[in-house]
């Protein structure tokens, strides 16, 4: 596979995902490698995202690549009214690879059809953020030793959270059992549940997770945002139901780990941070290794 864009997690087969995870493992052992020497990587952040951008730029720097681009569309010619089409045409002639984040859904797929160089999607609106999914998979495999037959709890905003949708799709390839815990207004969309049913996978929906937490291998926490509720009273009712506290971890499995795509607000209480089951900060570091592997993979670079 050479010069293949990475727009959606479905762009890679199960085998390709495993190859990337294996490669990321090598980068974790030895992150500094001169594999992108003389390569120019464009990072186009039409929508600001400091965390994702720094993670990519760190990955590129560790591989000896050069970076061009912008961190905010207000400093690019987008403000002069340039179309995405023209920006991509221009930048693809200056660079070997484009990493892009854009507020419009489908923008990365469209860019991959215009660009002469591969595109890595660093988030297109509420649609896909596949490098986040890859680092989630990496973190799950690293902490559990396998991706097979796990029981994954997804907690919080399951309606709008693109990270949980992508992770659900990805994990559905490994015979996962899913537990969806969310307020009524933020339930997992039907199309995703139908997707699991068609695959014959088990899923359970709950409005609270205190009593069932002992079954989890992975708890994937997300932020319940006030602005997602049509009725502010509904938010007030549920805002403390989806908060993970250290006292809740007493009867959890020894292998259980807590993940969160970050930033966190109050959904994981800070007394969890010191628990050996808290894994969200390591998870963020894993993002650099997985992005190193993805950069190499799309450019057809072998270790």
């Amino acid at each position: 596979m050479k010069n293949k864009s990475f727009v959606s997690i479905d762009d890679f087969t199960k085998e390709e995902i495993i190859e990337i995870l294996d490669m990321a493992e090598e980068f974790e052992k030895q992150p500094i490698r001169d594999l992108l020497r003389n390569r120019v990587i464009a990072t186009l952040f039409f929508e600001p995202s400091t965390r994702t951008r720094l993670s990519f730029e760190s990955a590129i720097n560790k591989l000896g690549g050069k970076i061009i681009g912008f961190a905010d569309a207000s400093i690019s010619s987008v403000t002069k009214g340039e179309s995405l089409h023209d920006t991509i045409r221009m930048v693809s002639s200056y660079s070997d690879l484009i990493v892009m984040r854009h507020q419009l859904e489908g923008s990365a797929r469209y860019a991959s059809e215009i660009s002469s160089v591969p595109i890595i999607n660093a988030g297109d609106g509420t649609n896909q953020h596949p490098t986040q999914t890859m680092l989630d998979l990496y973190s799950i495999r690293k902490t559990q030793g396998t991706l097979d037959n796990l029981n994954i709890f997804m907690v919080g905003d399951l309606k709008y959270g693109r990270t949980v949708h992508s992770l659900m799709m990805a994990m559905s390839r490994w015979n996962t059992t899913f537990n969806f815990i969310s307020p009524e207004e933020l339930k997992m969309p039907d199309e995703n549940k139908i997707y699991l049913e068609n695959l014959g996978l088990k899923y359970y929906e709950h409005s609270d997770f205190t009593d069932i937490i002992s079954r989890a291998d992975i708890i994937y926490m997300t932020r319940v945002q006030k602005e997602r509720f049509s009725d502010p009273i509904e938010y007030e009712k549920v805002k403390n139901v989806y908060v993970l506290k250290n006292s809740m971890l007493a009867n959890t499995k020894p292998n259980m780990r807590i993940l969160h795509p970050l930033p966190r607000v109050n959904e994981i209480s800070t007394d969890v941070d010191s628990s050996s089951k808290a894994y969200y900060f390591e998870q963020a570091l894993n993002g650099v290794f997985t992005r190193q592997a993805i950069l190499c993979k799309v450019l057809g670079i072998e270790l």
């Binding site: 959606s8 179309s83 995405l84 419009l104 859904e105 489908g106 923008s107 649609n127 199309e191």
Partner: protein
């Protein structure tokens, strides 16, 4: 009695005059007539075209019929109208006789006909030809190739 009946039937049939050779598209919902004309580009060809609309139909209530002289359609072209006229039937006419009947089939992919219902989809902001995968043919449901959101029959807008 019989003679009157057949005369009446004939009269009915002739409400849109017959063509010698070409294609008759029947069972088009009346409200979709102009969409069908647009999708097939009938407003841009020189062939002789006659059509009738708001004709009584047991099945559709009000139907339209289009007769295009000296024109045959490829299956791929004609299936493009399936989104707006799923029950349409084609009669291929040669020397005033129906020599073949065809039904439209909803294709597996749709390109450039429907709008994506997601206002934040790139296809609604830049000049991008829409593309969909048809995930349900009965109650038409389309998955956008770009934003991956679903557009269903109720939200379907033809470009």
């Amino acid at each position: 009695m019989e003679t009157t009946d057949s005369k009446e039937t004939k009269k009915k049939k002739m409400s849109v005059s017959a063509i010698k050779d070409g294609t008759v598209i029947d069972h088009v919902p009346a409200k979709s007539l102009f969409k069908v004309i647009q999708i097939l580009g009938l407003d841009k060809i020189d062939n002789q075209i006659t059509f009738g609309t708001n004709l009584n139909s047991k099945k559709l209530g009000k139907k339209a019929i289009i007769k295009i002289s000296d024109k045959l359609f490829e299956a791929d072209d004609i299936n493009r109208i399936a989104l707006v006229a799923p029950d349409a039937k084609l009669n291929i006419i040669k020397n005033y006789e129906v020599i073949e009947k065809k039904k439209v089939v909803v294709p597996d992919t749709i390109s450039g006909i429907a709008e994506c219902m997601n206002p934040k989809c790139i296809t609604n902001v830049e000049k991008v030809t829409t593309r969909f995968k048809v995930i349900s043919k009965k109650n038409v449901s389309l998955k956008c190739h770009y934003c991956e959101k679903i557009t269903n029959q109720d939200n379907l807008h033809i470009i």
